[in-house]
Symmetry: C2
Subunit: 372 residues, 2 copies
């Protein structure tokens, strides 16, 4: 097995911005001297009016359209972002920042605290709104007052909605894909399984595994396997794997990965540990579980959007059972009640929640049409 992410040198982000002011967090704590690692693509116009902020999902990062420095793989939305692509970097200046709490250069649990030791579990619990506060501080630093658009899928969509709600003057367009305005009991339940899997691993060591030569790779791998199932549809799994056996003609009557789907999941799990920090996984899943945009705004989702002047576009996928269409519809109803301009489309795609990352030409057309 290759070395785990936690055992490797930190990835070097291309650019880092250190927040000039302490970041006030929802939990009441303050993050001093936080850094934001980010990538940009395309030229910023002289009037700074062509900036698009892309917000990444739980296990994403700032490498939206350039090779990942750890895995060497193409950017996670390379099919969407680039010259002539649906988000056209010949026309737009695309910014993508690693969320705080992350592990790709932004301040997170693996970062060094004031006492010279890694934060580990002393890192404050953050929220989606805290992530957005950091993104807005970065925009301030870049001198970008108003975004042409904020775009995100899954947790990225949560951030896009949160930015529109909490910083209503900062964006003209909000494109939120395969997302939700709150985590359901089932969403929380799956994340809790993942956290317990990490914390049950003795190599987690209460979070203090940095520099120990051991990291909770097994626990994190199990967490990723469980989560990965929720990203795919039942029919997609059946189509892709069915009950096909892996490189063998017959069942072995043992506990090897007889079935292709077992082999695939194990690969997903172990590959993940090579690029992600387990404590970041704990903190980011917690932020998602805490997300309830209505609760932040007096319990009424429409109130969250009362001050927004942006145009909204919501996209869901019919095979997404993690954040099903009903969740997008719920947001659309609130936007309608708030009198916002909103368009909404449910796309037919076979691959479940992950469809937002995959080859869905209808999504390309929607994005191109909305972002302009």
């Amino acid at each position: 097995m290759p070395p785990s992410r936690a055992a490797m040198a930190p990835a070097l982000p291309s650019r880092t911005y250190t927040l000039p002011a302490p970041l006030q967090l929802d939990g009441g704590q303050v993050l001093e001297g936080a850094s934001i690692a980010f990538e940009t693509y395309g030229e910023l116009a002289a009037d700074k009016g062509n900036a698009i902020l892309i917000c990444h999902a739980l296990t994403g990062d700032q490498y939206v359209a350039s090779d990942h420095p750890v895995t060497g793989k193409p950017g996670w939305w390379e099919r969407t972002v680039g010259p002539g692509k649906p988000i056209d970097t010949d026309r737009f200046h695309v910014i993508c920042a690693n969320v705080i709490g992350g592990c790709m250069g932004s301040t997170g649990p693996a970062s060094i605290a004031g006492d010279g030791q890694p934060y580990a579990m002393r890192f404050p619990v953050i929220t989606i709104r805290d992530m957005v506060r950091a993104q807005v501080a970065l925009l301030d630093g870049l001198g970008i007052e108003r975004l042409h658009a904020v775009v995100g899928g899954s947790m990225g969509g949560m951030q896009a909605l949160s930015l529109a709600a909490n910083f209503p003057g900062r964006c003209d367009r909000v494109l939120a894909i395969a997302t939700t305005a709150r985590h359901s009991a089932q969403n929380i339940a799956f994340h809790e399984v993942g956290r317990q899997a990490v914390m049950a691993d003795p190599d987690w060591q209460g979070g203090n595994y940095y520099g120990s030569g051991r990291a909770p790779d097994k626990g994190l791998s199990v967490a990723r396997m469980a989560a990965h199932i929720t990203y795919l549809s039942e029919s997609g799994l059946t189509e892709k794997f069915g009950r096909n056996l892996q490189d063998r003609d017959a069942k072995t009557f043992g506990f090897d990965a007889d079935f292709q789907v077992e082999s695939y999941l194990r690969y997903q799990g172990s590959g993940f540990t090579q690029r992600f920090d387990a404590n970041s996984y704990l903190y980011i899943t917690r932020a998602m579980d805490y997300f309830d945009l209505a609760e932040e705004h007096g319990g009424k989702l429409a109130e969250a959007f009362a001050a927004s002047t942006a145009r909204f576009c919501l996209v869901s996928f019919d095979s997404d059972w993690l954040y099903p269409t009903a969740e997008s519809r719920h947001i659309v109803h609130a936007l309608n009640a708030a009198g916002a301009a909103v368009s909404f489309v449910e796309l037919s795609a076979p691959h479940g929640h992950d469809s937002f990352l995959l080859d869905v030409s209808a999504l390309d057309r929607v994005m191109k049409g909305f972002v302009g």
Copy 2:
């Protein structure tokens, strides 16, 4: 935390039958001297024509209508089985046996092998058909040639179908509830997560944890948590827990079980380890993943039922996403093709797969009507 199941003395089943002949297994191995622990309820008629075999699910046992000797809780189907109940023990003689591979008295991985040591992972990998072979051997021992009915939900339904297919002369009625004729890729995937969680626990020790004072309770707990989510519907979880907090007025901004659903899952996980053996969990999930009734019969499910003269009743629940209605319909089509007498009903119940264990009065009526 109370002691785990593995650390406790074996539960004493009320009756045990030792198979007089070696049990030939699908995997090619032979199980010598296997014991079957079972419970019975109601009187067996003089002509032995009133016997009903109930087959239990993955984590069930023979205590269908009497207190569980480890937990002290009522039997798992006490609402269904008893005097005057849908399966009326004033009229029927009900037999329920712990499956082989189990941990409640039937021979399984915790049992002592010929060399005086526990089998652990030397126990042969078994199949649903192997479980049924053991059940039929028990019926032979009890002198019951033909069952009035075989009844089961979930994995119990798999056994009921397998008995009808492989021992077509042994039953008059087959009632299969919330079940499937084969495990899907998604079903296998969830089980694989659970197995990996168990095997990732260093206390698993390659399965040789018996007598070591340590058992993979943490891993087994995570496995149970993941599985438990699949037993409940998304809407059922929302209705029962939503985003309610557990014994607190506000989020703690920490990693405690802030949400009720987290607390509930942790309780389900740790409670499970007190009554179940981790290696049994591995073997029984493997048997379920291997289950493909069509494959056993030339790839055609209708062929499986060609020789059966039984009447069938299939029941599914509209909120069951583990074995959804389409799986029951698939079985019904095969039974129709085989010319079997079959009735089928999809019941509306909010609680997902676990509905077969819960208070669903329509299920009571279906069972009473079909069993007679």
